[in-house]
């Protein structure tokens, strides 16, 4: 039967691989995939959009649906983790948070709307750099825009996810943000209330926990559980 997926846009490539693999083994299953911002996906599900599985880019939208009793609570778990890194021009002498003071402009995701920005802000605060850098920060629409600003040279560097940094052409990872500075980047997954009644959805949901799935995720730079 049909399996409706609502997946955060940043998980697109990973999920595409997994569905392809799963579909090969289960020819009867057809995936209908909807990619977007986590908040938008949550509100769509709330409004009755067909969805069996929800993969969010942060926990708050998963919690939001959970509160509205739209998720199968027991199914909710972590799908993958990501890491925050700082990218910039190769050869730049930036090795740590403290070195950022040397820079002119730094892009982070908009802390309120972009999870990566929220994490970056947390890291800045914890390392005590936030006041010093306040006027140098550019708030980007999403992580992709952050990376693009760095790639185009509009900013000296950006905080992005490791998975995104791997796409970079003109920039490279200057340092990985120490994990103790920010909460772990988690991608929760869960079956929706409707999805829990869909056998194929449940089967695919289980597949997401498989070793094979983990391998795919790691290939793309995520950390799986």
């Amino acid at each position: 039967g049909d399996v409706n997926l609502s997946v955060a846009a940043s998980m697109k490539d990973a999920v595409n691989q997994l569905t392809d693999n799963f579909a090969k083994k289960n020819p009867g299953v057809k995936f209908i995939k909807n990619y977007g911002a986590s908040g938008a996906l949550a509100k769509q599900i709330e409004s009755g959009a067909p969805a069996d599985i929800f993969i969010s880019a942060n926990e708050k939208w998963m919690d939001y649906l959970k509160e509205k009793k739209l998720m199968d609570d027991r199914s909710i778990g972590t799908f993958a983790y990501n890491e925050l890194v700082f990218v910039g021009k190769p050869g730049m002498k930036v090795r740590s948070m403290q070195d950022l003071a040397e820079l002119e402009k730094i892009a982070i995701g908009s802390p309120q709307s972009v999870p990566a920005g929220e994490y970056a802000m947390a890291a800045l605060k914890k390392s005590g750099m936030d006041k010093e850098l306040e006027r140098k920060l550019v708030m980007a629409k999403d992580v992709r825009a952050c990376l693009m600003y760095a790639e185009q040279g509009e900013v000296d560097g950006s905080f992005v996810y490791k998975t995104d940094a791997l796409l970079a052409k003109n920039t490279k990872i200057l340092f990985v943000v120490p994990q103790e500075l920010y909460p772990r980047v988690t991608y929760p997954k869960g079956l929706t209330a409707a999805g829990s009644k869909n056998k194929d959805a449940a089967a695919f949901f289980n597949y997401l926990n498989s070793a094979e799935a983990r391998k795919s995720l790691e290939q793309l730079g995520f950390t799986a559980k």
């Binding site: 909807n34 067909p50 992709r144």
Partner: protein
């Protein structure tokens, strides 16, 4: 650089974009014309409110419109709950939702263009038609319609072009489902959020541009015929 080849999802995005933009435009035309007529020729209470309602989608960011439509048409919305569900119609996440989103976003452009066209019709022609026995409706069809044709044409072209570029509202109400509700802008969005998608995104941009060139050429052609028709 090699021209990248489109996937079948891309082709269906192109096809869907055309289908959505033209359906939205065609469906809006009669309503838009009627409203433009009302706004141009009639004085009534609440005219300003109607005007504001029509123009609203212009003022609000498309994403917000998407959310508002979702609230309205969704499971718990007025329309969704009391009209669509009893009739067993599902709109959200279908191409019809994309049509509605596109229509709402482009509608103010259509109405405004038709209004400008109507406002410049010589009133004496309408008077002449009336003395010749043409009632209100007859007058609308045989005089106002043909004489505001330039405005209608321009409005349709504007609306169609806007429809090709509509992203924010569509992705919310119709979702971004390849092959089902993914229009060109949504496909572009997807390409730009994955590695090495830039080339494909650009290629889709070119398609969008070509489509609008065709529409503009067609519009120019019709306008010229209008002028030539002595």
């Amino acid at each position: 650089m090699n021209m990248p080849s489109f996937t079948s999802a891309d082709y269906s995005a192109i096809f869907l974009s055309m289908k959505v933009a033209s359906t939205a435009t065609l469906l809006s035309l009669p309503v838009g014309f009627a409203l433009a007529w009302l706004m141009t020729y009639k004085q009534f209470r609440g005219k300003v409110i109607l005007d504001v309602l029509i123009s609203l989608p212009l003022t609000l960011p498309p994403v917000v419109i998407g959310y508002l439509l979702l609230l309205l048409l969704g499971r718990n919305g007025w329309v969704g709950k009391y009209l669509l569900q009893p009739l067993d119609i599902r709109l959200i996440f279908t191409w019809k939702a994309a049509v509605i989103a596109t229509a709402v976003v482009g509608f103010p452009l259509l109405v405004r263009a038709i209004r400008i066209g109507m406002e410049s019709i010589d009133e004496r022609l309408l008077q002449a038609a009336r003395t010749l026995g043409a009632g209100t409706f007859d007058n609308i069809i045989t005089v106002i319609l043909p004489l505001s044709f330039r405005g209608i044409l321009a409005g349709s072209a504007l609306m169609f072009a806007r429809g090709l570029g509509e992203f924010g509202a569509t992705i919310i109400v119709a979702g971004n489902i390849p092959g089902v509700t993914q229009t060109i802008p949504l496909a572009i969005y997807e390409y730009t959020s994955s590695p090495s998608g830039d080339v494909m995104a650009l290629a889709l941009c070119m398609v969008s541009i070509s489509l609008s060139v065709i529409i503009l050429l067609f519009h120019e052609f019709l306008s010229r015929r209008l002028v030539k028709a002595d």
